[in-house]
């Protein structure tokens, strides 16, 4: 095992370097290729690429040159090629960092990416090329930012967000205003202080200072997301900081345009202030409105897509992007429009689109946003190298200090006010994390980049100061926040999935509190929430959701989702996993059924589940089971552009595999603890036996079932003695004993065959990996080799639990 890992890790380490090397080569090549490409086709202008060969042929009439067998035309592909190169670089970097587990534990990814950007920028400069204006504002605001924000908006945890909306708005609006004016004002004061020093700082007027303050004061969602995703902080703090970073966009937009406008004019009147406030309301509410309208449109469209499933995900993306662009047209808050759009469409779209489309949406959003995020951080590094800098010690240090001070004062002051209205008070620790989590990022930089040189002669100094603040927050705060969270013992996020009991009681509590409020006779927020829910159910859902699902209450929808997921897991794993609880157990239906006498044969819980399904669902699950069984056959089917017939779970396949393996491991561990700690260890199997067992696939697939059965026969050690033997016999023995459901026999049968088939496939894959561990693990007890093989065949570094959460929530 150690040997194996060692052989792996050098390759892992060298990957980033290799990626970098590749890039250098490509960049150099680009330099040398450029003139070459230009020379080879001097006559072709950009316009007639389409019929290039014909043109060439035509021209060869008078030049009498031989027909060029191989031509090099780099210009032709330059732009897309370079874009792809950047994306490739970003992806490779991300890949590289995840291959080095220790590094990502210490340094946040954002820091590493900025460093990479710095290196790449330096290399480009060394190569004598012009650094492309990578982080120019158009690219940033139109291409890089929207995916991240849409991802955040679509998967926004609505409930905690709405519950804390007041606090979030307070921080986002009042906090940002305070920061902007505090920083801007004091900065101006500092600039005026040094009369003895004839520095250029004197020339700065108040308005540019305030403009700078408003740019630098906004907390950046990209930076916050990047850091907070890694520290796994509790839900409340996460939503507070993250929500603030999203909603302060409106304030920033207004302040920015306001100050930019007036720094030309020079004077600001009371009327202008008043107009500013109005403009803020228009920008914020207008943005949300635009988002909601597009969200509802998307939901409405998705109602009719049941025949063209393949383009379903596209509607989600395109409508959201349209919302963003439409908001930007009027200088409304595009970020708020995106958030509103994503959050509005999600519940309806999710009910309408197919499971596969949903997975596609999920993965596409995650993919886009992570690539964008990576690119933004790399570009930030590149732009740092590129930009003309004007370093002014006083200005930069004062800015950094003021940012910290104003943030702390703002958070402490606001919490003091907010805590009077909050039920769950924010403690000192919370305040610290909120203040410390106020990271600045690429949005500030891009806004600074937008400034016009002739209006703001200090632009370069501003940019330098912004970059310093961004680097300071991302590097210093981003790197130290994790240890600080540990040190302060701030509550972490609970990883546990939502159980059905919790869901029942959440619903129950909602109704209960509404009822109590009604009895008290005043209308609190539970009352209005209930009203809204009822309105939603009665009218909106009917319009936006197709078919019977519109009438489905939340609890039932939740239950169905869970059941569905479970069925998928069952197919993938070959059985054994029951209700969503993580604990493997032997409790089955009969244990809680009071009426029927215990059936003669033990009933597997997993078999029971499908039999309880309502007709439609059952059909669906059956289809899955069947298609899974026929996978190999279906692959040969003709390709159809409009429907995806085959590949039932290719999308979520890896996910499930990982989870399944984790589950089996866990189950094994617990079983081992239960059984083998008290019972003398089973005689170790011979390696060949183990291998045979694994390649037959029975071990991985039917282990839990057998173990459960073994357990059920009684707690005496004798039965466990017999277990290893029963393991090694490759028969599947599953009792079908749910007398009230004849259907389950059918389903079970298919599911068993599916398991068999898959087992075979898996076995082949496993064999290559298995040879080594057996040698190392031979000395240990009989269970060890199996555990080792399981570790090795684990396809990924870790299962991303986060990915599944939206599906269940």
């Amino acid at each position: 095992m150690p040997a194996k890992r060692d052989s792996h890790s050098p390759a892992g380490k060298s990957l980033p370097e290799r990626g970098l090397l590749l890039l250098i080569v490509l960049v150099l090549l680009q330099g040398s290729v450029l003139p070459l490409g230009a020379a080879s086709s001097p006559n072709t202008s950009r316009n007639d690429y389409v019929d290039n060969p014909q043109v060439k042929v035509g021209k060869s009439n008078y030049t009498k040159k031989a027909f060029p067998v191989l031509t090099l035309d780099y210009h032709h592909i330059q732009a897309p090629f370079e874009i792809s190169l950047w994306i490739l670089l970003a992806s490779l970097m991300k890949l590289g960092f995840h291959l080095i587990p220790r590094l990502s534990g210490i340094v946040p990814e954002s820091c590493l990416l900025i460093t990479v950007g710095l290196l790449v920028g330096g290399l480009i400069k060394l190569a004598g090329e012009d650094v492309p204006p990578v982080l120019d504002s158009r690219l940033f605001f139109l291409c890089l930012l929207p995916p991240i924000i849409l991802d955040a908006g679509y998967f926004l945890p609505i409930r905690p967000f709405m519950e804390n909306l007041g606090t979030i708005l307070m921080f986002a609006v009042v906090g940002t205003l305070w920061n902007a004016f505090f920083i801007g004002g004091l900065l101006y004061a500092v600039c005026q202080i040094q009369p003895a020093n004839p520095s250029i700082l004197h020339k700065i007027e108040l308005l540019p200072c305030l403009l700078f303050g408003s740019i630098i004061s906004a907390v950046d969602p990209v930076a916050v997301l990047a850091v907070f995703e890694e520290i796994h902080i509790n839900e409340l703090l996460h939503i507070l900081v993250f929500g603030e970073s999203l909603l302060n966009d409106a304030v920033t937009v207004v302040l920015y345009h306001l100050f930019e406008e007036y720094s030309g004019a020079g004077t600001v009147t009371v009327l202008d202030c008043f107009l500013g406030i109005i403009s803020f309301l228009v920008v914020a509410i207008g943005g949300v409105l635009v988002g909601v309208i597009y969200g509802l449109l998307a939901a409405f469209t998705s109602r009719f897509t049941s025949h063209v499933r393949v383009i379903e995900p596209l509607f989600v993306f395109v409508y959201a992007y349209m919302a963003y662009l439409s908001a930007e047209v009027f200088h409304l808050s595009g970020i708020m429009a995106l958030i509103a759009c994503g959050a509005t469409m999600r519940p309806y779209v999710e009910a309408n689109i197919s499971h596969k489309s949903h997975t596609t949406v999920k993965y596409f959003l995650k993919m886009w946003s992570s690539v964008s995020e990576t690119l933004i951080f790399i570009f930030l590094g590149v732009a740092t190298v590129d930009g003309p800098h004007h370093w002014n010690w006083t200005f930069v240090t004062v800015t950094v200090l003021l940012c910290l001070v104003s943030r702390v004062i703002g958070v402490v002051g606001l919490t003091y006010v907010i805590n009077k209205f909050r039920i769950v008070k924010l403690t000192t620790k919370d305040q610290f994390i909120i203040a410390y989590g106020g990271l600045r990022g690429a949005i500030a930089f891009s806004l600074g980049f937008l400034l016009k040189k002739d209006l703001f002669p200090m632009r370069e100094m501003f940019l330098t100061a912004i970059i310093t603040v961004v680097f300071f927050t991302v590097f210093v705060q981003g790197m130290t926040i994790q240890p600080l969270v540990e040190l302060l013992a701030v509550k972490k996020k609970q990883e546990a999935k939502r159980t059905i009991n919790e869901e029942i009681h959440t619903q129950f509590l909602d109704h209960l509190l509404t009822g109590i409020e009604d009895i008290c006779g005043h209308y609190g927020h539970h009352h209005w929430k209930d009203k809204l829910n009822r309105f939603n159910k009665k009218y909106v859902k009917k319009c936006l959701i197709a078919g019977e699902r519109s009438k489905e209450p939340q609890l039932i929808a939740f239950y169905h989702k869970m059941e569905f997921k479970q069925a998928i897991e069952m197919v993938e794993s070959g059985g054994g996993f029951k209700m969503p609880s993580a604990m493997p157990s032997t409790v089955s239906m009969q244990n809680i059924q009071p009426k029927k006498p215990p059936p003669a044969k033990p009933v597997e819980k997993a078999e029971k589940a499908p039999s309880q399904l309502p007709k439609g669902r059952e059909e669906e699950i059956r289809k899955i089971l069947r298609s899974n069984l026929q996978r190999t056959r279906l692959r040969l089917r003709s390709y159809n552009r409009h429907t995806l017939v085959a590949d039932p779970f290719e999308d979520g396949f890896d996910d499930l595999l990982i989870k399944k393996q984790k589950m089996i491991e866990l189950e094994k561990k617990i079983k081992d603890m239960n059984n083998y700690l008290t019972v003398p260890a089973a005689p170790p199997d011979s390696p060949t036996m183990c291998r045979a067992r694994l390649s037959s696939g029975k071990d991985t697939d039917f282990k839990p079932a057998q173990q459960q059965k073994g357990n059920k026969t009684g707690p005496d050690p004798q039965s466990y003695r017999a277990k290893p033997e029963s393991d090694s016999v490759p028969t599947i023995h599953v009792d079908l004993a749910s007398p009230q459901s004849p259907d389950s026999v059918n389903v079970m049968d298919e599911f068993r065959r599916a398991g068999q088939q898959r087992g075979g496939e898996r076995g082949e894959e496993d064999q290559g990996l298995m040879m080594r561990p057996h040698k190392t693990g031979e000395g240990a007890d009989g269970k060890d080799p199996q555990k080792l093989t399981r570790c090795l065949s684990d396809p990924g570094p870790s299962a991303d639990e986060e990915e599944d959460q939206p599906f269940l929530a």
Partner: protein
Amino acid sequence: MGASQTRAEHQYQDLADKTGFSFEQIKNLFQRFQQLSGNEETISRANLDSIPALANNPIRKQIIGAFFDKRNQHQDEVGSCDQIGFEQFLMVMSHFRPPNLRTTDEEKEAMRKEKLRFLFNMHDSDNDGTITLAEYRKVVEELLSKSGEIGQETAKAIADAAMLEVASINVPNMGPEEFYEGITFEHFEEILKGLEMESRMHIRFLDVDTSTMRCGKSQS
């Protein structure tokens, strides 16, 4: 009104000590109580039943039942009564008070227990200390009672799944002959650990001058 002022004050002080409400809250609730009872001393099921806003609540029966349940009166009595006075009304309401900043951890724990006990009692209709499968099914059925036919069919399955989950969380290794009787209070606590009842199960009682506001004033 003026003559009864001092008497009322006195009475309020008593109630405030018992339930933890502030005077203003009690006053407001008393007004509501009188409004509901039609200026009677006691209130009956019919009075609560006739609240129009409650008509759409799927668990209306249980909510009203909880008001007349003697177990929720901080006494060791069992069973239900037909009429409750204002004091009992307040007692039930006091289960929905929010915690404040100065609540210690032990108090919070006690509060959580008390709130959970209230919920548990709502489910455990026959007061035998366990929520049986039949009782749990009834709860889910009530919860889904507004969603018509599909709701009723699925309710049973959901309750079964939930029960199974409780059983597998609390008694992971069970023989086939063993029988899981029902959810005891300890198990109930266990399964709802993640919900943070102490801070979630509350409503904002209408008052002009809350205790938290006053605490803020005294500090400043």
